[in-house]
């Protein structure tokens, strides 16, 4: 390889032997012999004979130049007029120069060809490597995309389920408030009633000690025991009412917490609405006046807990839409074998640009952390499972009305995630 390289290096200094390459030496020397009328010899700069005889006698001698320095000598064996010898040397140099041009051209041609070829081979190797890389990549890409899609779907499903759980959590928080209220006055009533008992125990001691009926009557009236007795009764009755209220809430809560329920039951939407309004009272009572106009009275085959979630979700949205105070109307009716539920508020409304997206998963206009963007998606899915439809009409500044249509005759699908 190194020999080849030096061979093709166009910059090397050419020696006389190389400069004579390809030239018919016998014809050259016989021409020179005739022109100079004597025998000529040609030596290179090291004294080696290239044409003619090294040992023969030399009479005249003239240098032959390469690029710059002498590369050899033209020698004659008999005397020759100097101008003729110089003319012959000049002619030889013209021949050598022509040959040098050819040699330089072929050398640089070879060199660039070889460099270009090596460059092409390098690029070819690089291209093959990158082709292999891309082939690999494209094969693994499909698998990786599928894996990613699976991961994202899993994450979505998890968030979706979390949203259902979270709504139950919010409901539970509301319920705690509802239960605490009656619990508070029941406790106070019972405590008061217990304190009344002290007076009756004292009276009982008098009886045990054999007090006269005169004495007993005096104490009975002096301690106002008849009044205490009446009040005692009132306290107990009030407490019973409170306990009934708690019992109702617990029943309602039991219904709506069964979100994993898969079996259907017969339930009417009016009862569901009433129960939800009862347990969620704390959510709206500060801001909104709730007007119920319930007249569906038709039981449908449904998953009541799921429908309760829909009512709860729509009610929550309506409350959120109201900035200070407002009115929320919930209407139910039956039209042409379809149970219609309407939840209407007079809140801020939804803009035209936002409206087409409200059922899309993870779409939310609420602050980060305030909403998951899944509330209406969950409602939509539940209604769809029940073979129904859900529609929203809204006007900015006027309010929003959500209409849910549920067919009375509907064999509910059991297919949804459970």
């Amino acid at each position: 390889m190194s020999d080849f390289q030096s061979e093709a290096d166009f910059e090397r200094d050419l020696n006389l032997d190389e400069l004579l390459k390809g030239i018919d030496k016998s014809r050259l020397v016989s021409a020179l012999n005739v022109l100079l009328d004597t025998m000529v010899d040609i030596m290179d700069d090291t004294g080696a004979s290239l044409i003619g005889d090294n040992d023969s006698k030399t009479v005249d001698k003239v240098p032959l130049h390469g690029e710059l320095e002498p590369v050899g000598f033209l020698q004659t064996r008999t005397a020759v007029p100097p101008e003729r010898l110089r003319a012959a040397a000049d002619m030889m140099q013209l021949i050598l120069r022509c040959n040098a041009r050819y040699l330089l051209s072929s050398d640089i041609h070879l060199q660039t060809q070889r460099d270009d070829f090596e460059e092409l081979q390098r690029r070819n190797v690089a291209l093959q490597a990158s082709e292999a890389r891309y082939k690999n990549l494209s094969e693994s890409l499909e698998i990786r995309v599928k894996e990613q899609v699976k991961t994202i779907e899993k994450a979505h499903l998890k968030l979706y389920r979390n949203e259902k759980q979270a709504s139950v959590g919010r409901l539970a928080a509301g319920v705690a408030h509802e239960v605490n209220n009656p619990l508070g006055f029941i406790r106070s009533n019972v405590a008061t009633a217990v304190s009344y008992l002290e007076s009756f125990y004292e009276f009982n001691t008098l009886i045990d000690n054999g007090a006269s009926s005169e004495e007993l009557r005096k104490v009975w009236e002096g301690r106002e025991l008849p009044l205490l007795l009446d009040d005692f009764k009132d306290l107990m009755n009030e407490s019973l009412e409170g306990l009934d209220r708690i019992a109702k809430i617990v029943i309602a809560l039991k219904g709506f917490s069964r979100i994993d329920q898969t079996e259907t039951e017969r339930a009417d939407i009016d009862t569901i609405v009433r129960q939800i309004c009862q347990v969620a009272e704390s959510q709206w009572q500060q801001k909104a006046k709730l007007v119920l106009d319930l007249s569906s009275e038709t039981p449908i085959q449904c998953q009541s807990a799921q429908l309760g979630q829909v009512v709860y979700g729509l009610l929550g949205n309506a409350v959120d839409a109201i900035e200070k105070t407002g009115i929320i109307r919930i209407r139910t009716s039956v039209r042409n074998g379809v149970v219609v539920l309407e939840v209407q508020d007079n809140g801020r409304g939804i803009s035209e640009t936002v409206l087409p997206h409200v059922f899309e998963p993870f779409f939310t206009t609420k602050e980060v952390g305030q909403g998951t963007g899944l509330g209406l998606t969950v409602c939509h899915d539940i209604v769809k499972e029940h073979g129904g439809t859900i529609d929203i009409v809204s006007q900015i500044g006027k309010g929003t009305r959500v209409t849910v249509n549920l067919p009375v005759q509907n064999a509910i699908q059991h297919s949804k995630e459970s």
């Binding site: 710059l68 120069r97 040098a100 660039t112």
Partner: protein, 222 residues
């Protein structure tokens, strides 16, 4: 890098005239061949195509002996300017000791000049030359033509560049020697550092230039 042959006491220095097609590189060499009179001057070898475009390169050999007897030999090359001959340009530029970039002063040629200069920098990197250290002179040629950039415009454009900028008209020979001398000065510095021209061979910068240009010329133009 210059080739130092100890056995034959010879230092071969390679200079390259680079630049866009038809900017006057070959004409530069022809003028040098006409004007210079060093002790040794070879014939100008021009390898051209039928339409006078350089095919492979042109070569002008020059030389003189330092006081120590060392033969200082110059091989002055041009590269082919046409874009398609890039492999040849790369081969000729390889191992260069100094470069003259011959730019065309005509306003219409600014883009070609820029592309060719970028090509010079790229090829220098490819053949392993340190472009920042390489002795380089920029020559704006064809000052005799109309519709050329003014000297002020050119100097402003090259203000931030570290290389000397000279003006020439190769056809008339104006500026050719000045360009060559400027390059020789830069080349001497690197050669002196590597081959101790001053201390080992008794050759200082002035006589290095004077002997390369040739006796009569250096005193006349010096």
């Amino acid at each position: 890098m210059a080739q130092y042959d100890e056995s034959s006491q010879k230092l071969t220095i390679k200079l390259v005239y680079y630049g866009p097609a038809l900017s006057g590189k070959t004409t530069n060499l022809m003028r040098l061949h006409d004007i210079l009179t060093p002790d040794m001057k070879g014939e100008l070898m021009i390898m051209e195509t039928a339409d006078d475009r350089t095919l492979f390169f042109d070569l002008l050999p020059l030389g003189f002996r330092a006081p120590s007897g060392l033969l200082i030999k110059f091989k002055v090359y041009t590269v082919p300017g046409q874009v398609i001959h890039d492999s040849t340009r790369k081969a000729v530029l390889s191992r260069a000791d100094g470069v003259v970039f011959v730019a065309d002063s005509q306003r219409t040629q600014s883009v070609n000049n820029g592309e060719s200069f970028e090509n010079l920098a790229a090829n220098a990197a490819r053949v392993g030359l340190d472009f920042q250290q390489l002795p380089l002179v920029v020559q704006f040629n064809k000052r005799d033509l109309p519709a050329i950039l003014t000297e002020q415009e050119i100097l402003e454009r090259w203000e931030k560049a570290p290389w000397p900028v000279l003006f020439s008209s190769a056809l008339t020979g104006e500026g050719i020697i000045e360009t060559f001398k400027t390059l020789l000065t830069a080349v001497y510095l690197t050669c002196d550092r590597l081959y101790r021209l001053q201390s080992d061979h008794g050759l200082d910068c002035d006589s290095f230039i004077a002997q390369t240009l040739g006796g009569s010329l250096s005193s006349a133009r010096g």
